[in-house]
Symmetry: C2
Subunit: 395 residues, 2 copies
């Protein structure tokens, strides 16, 4: 394990990754050793978590006043929020702030950290509600929130349908996380000028991610086959929400000029899209041992990824029988041999190498965007390492 870089926060560990077919077809030059943002060694993580813990502690009075079983429900939400995840969004926001000249030793650093950490509450809402939408049963190795409350209902022998009860509670707790995300920003202690600067960024981010999620479920339901539709979901559900806007938020907190903001947004869009493209590959070719997700799940769920859209586009042109096979299997309960055959087709028609190529180009153009941008040297190094992490990960 090699420590690649640290900048008041981000530590990147190099390690040898493994990805089945993706590895076998990749021939692009590496930007940097394959690396992962490790929750265990990234010092932003414990700081985000203690900031979130303090926020929840500050709500106890209000929650206790409401009484009943609300405190226990909120504790479930708190455990969910604190249970981990890589804190990708706060890390990008914090790094964006540092790279735009933010001083981690300045008095406002704690307030900035609160704004960055609030992104995890937006994310909690997104995950809790997404898990209802996708009818997912596990998340981060635990039952999803709606499943946990359905189980409580069942264990207590309550009346009505446990599943409906679990979803109802999860809808309300997701709403609470979203409302509290706003509260956390509002109560962060940043000065009014900074608050005014971040307002449109914060607003844009929430509108975009909800739009991206909406388009995603529409594409799935309508079986939209276009690369363009899949790219639009990548752009708003992932790139804007996960990287572009968090960096933009960091820049706005630091009062960065338009050059830095523009560079961050281009970098964030490119890396964010590449991040999702990598996710698409992992969803089909990833090692279940490493990703933690059953192999082929994206295909069974009928996810309309760029990878799949490209495969269809190419199969239509070069191999109509293969195209027909892809269409007949996507969104169905594929057998393991079906999954293998779909994989083989996706590779054979060249969709995997095209996606790898796009990832490589996006990663390169992202780094170019930071040149002569006014971002500090250490900030650029940190972001380069994070770009590598995001685009070359194996899980």
């Amino acid at each position: 394990m090699v420590k690649v870089f640290t900048d008041h926060g981000v530590v990147v560990r190099a390690h040898t990754g493994s990805i089945r077919i993706a590895r076998s077809v990749r021939s692009r030059p590496r930007i940097a050793p394959e690396a992962t943002l490790s929750a265990a060694s990234n010092p932003v993580v414990p700081r985000v978590e203690s900031t979130l813990r303090d926020f929840f502690a500050g709500r106890a009075g209000l929650v206790d006043e409401i009484g009943g079983g609300y405190r226990e429900a909120v504790s479930t939400l708190e455990r969910f929020v604190l249970r981990g995840g890589k804190r990708v969004r706060p890390s990008f926001a914090w790094t964006g702030w540092l790279g735009a000249g933010g001083d981690p030793d300045a008095p406002e650093a704690d307030a900035v950290m609160r704004v960055c950490s609030a992104l995890e509450l937006v994310q909690a809402c997104a995950l809790v509600h997404d898990d209802i939408i996708d009818a997912s049963t596990t998340r981060r190795g635990h039952p999803t929130v709606h499943v946990a409350f359905a189980e409580e209902h069942r264990a207590a022998g309550w009346s009505g349908d446990p599943g409906r009860f679990g979803e109802a509670v999860a809808i309300l707790l997701g709403d609470l996380a979203l409302a509290w995300a706003d509260d956390m920003v509002r109560e962060s202690g940043i000065d009014p000028a900074a608050a005014a600067r971040i307002a449109p960024v914060w607003s844009g981010m929430r509108t975009e991610v909800l739009g991206g999620q909406f388009l995603d479920i529409c594409n799935e339901a309508s079986a939209d086959e276009s690369v363009e539709a899949a790219m639009r979901v990548n752009r708003f559900k992932t790139a804007a929400y996960t990287i572009e806007r968090p960096l933009h938020l960091g820049a706005a907190l630091a009062g960065a000029d338009e050059t830095i903001v523009g560079a961050y947004r281009r970098f964030g869009t490119d890396v964010g899209i590449a991040f999702q493209l990598r996710d698409d590959l992992l969803g089909v070719f990833g090692d279940p041992e490493v990703t933690g997700k059953p192999s082929g799940d994206d295909l069974r769920a009928g996810k309309r990824t760029v990878l799949f859209a490209l495969a269809l586009e190419r199969a239509d042109r070069d191999d109509p029988a293969a195209a027909e096979f892809l269409r007949s299997r996507i969104g169905s309960d594929l057998s393991e041999s079906d999954v293998d055959e779909v994989r083989e087709i996706i590779v054979r028609v060249g969709a995997v190498s095209e996606v790898e190529q796009r990832i490589t180009e996006l990663a390169a153009s992202a780094l170019t965007a930071l040149e002569d941008s006014g971002v500090t040297d250490r900030g650029r190094e940190a972001l380069a390492a994070m770009a590598t992490t995001a685009t070359e990960r194996t899980a």
Copy 2:
């Protein structure tokens, strides 16, 4: 029809109401002629609606940039928000601001109106998500949002389950309404001092209403029979959210002193609880022609109201056979004759007269709270009229 009062906003029409058994058992003195806040004649309503319309118009650029079918989905949300309702919360907030010395001709009035109107976006989230939770099919004479999107899915012949799709879209649009409510406050244009004053009020209100909703579904699922549990739901789901906090918000916008804030909060809690108690009566005894809700629906849904809890408490003491009948029927698919029998029991054991008595006492104590509070005379008159509206309505 008689115009009772107008104060730069609130007009109250006197009319003759009708309530079946509730009328027959009430013997309390009236505060004022039975009245209703009429959307048609309350000048706050068109102002709230044009403010909301402007807000949605201001979002068009961001929404269009996301593209796909997002614009149409947001239009559905906009129509839902603009479709009516009595704008009770903005009316209380605005009246609270006026009563605390707010000047409707001052330059900041538009900004204040934007904050007041944002309450309707919180309410849109609450209604859209509540309709999923309650599996309601109609709202304000139209299909609920999740039903409308399920129908679109069906009409388009899309894949997957239309019901799940409709709920997914409704979850996301409810989230969007909640996020935009915050945006609308943040972008309202009130000065930073006012923003700081309203922050804890806004935060408290959202936490309370979500807590109240959570307790409500838990009471229903656990068949909690206590008056105390039902009162806690009234307090937070209705009173705090609908009247107390909107008035508090208005007071905070005006920079009111603690005396006014305290008076408003006592008034709001009392009127809010009385408002919900009236709702409980209407849910069992209301005229379906007037309420627009099928008679007995609250009983079939198993709603754990204060009215029902009091009826059970009294029946346990005085008429165990009646108590057994109530327990056997609540939450079941009651026939019309069952509904009639449940009604008869609730009246006979004295629960209706106790609830009417409580409403009378709460309405009186609410008015007392405003005395010597520093609230303007016109503000007190307006609030008195609104208290009457809220507690003596028939629909």
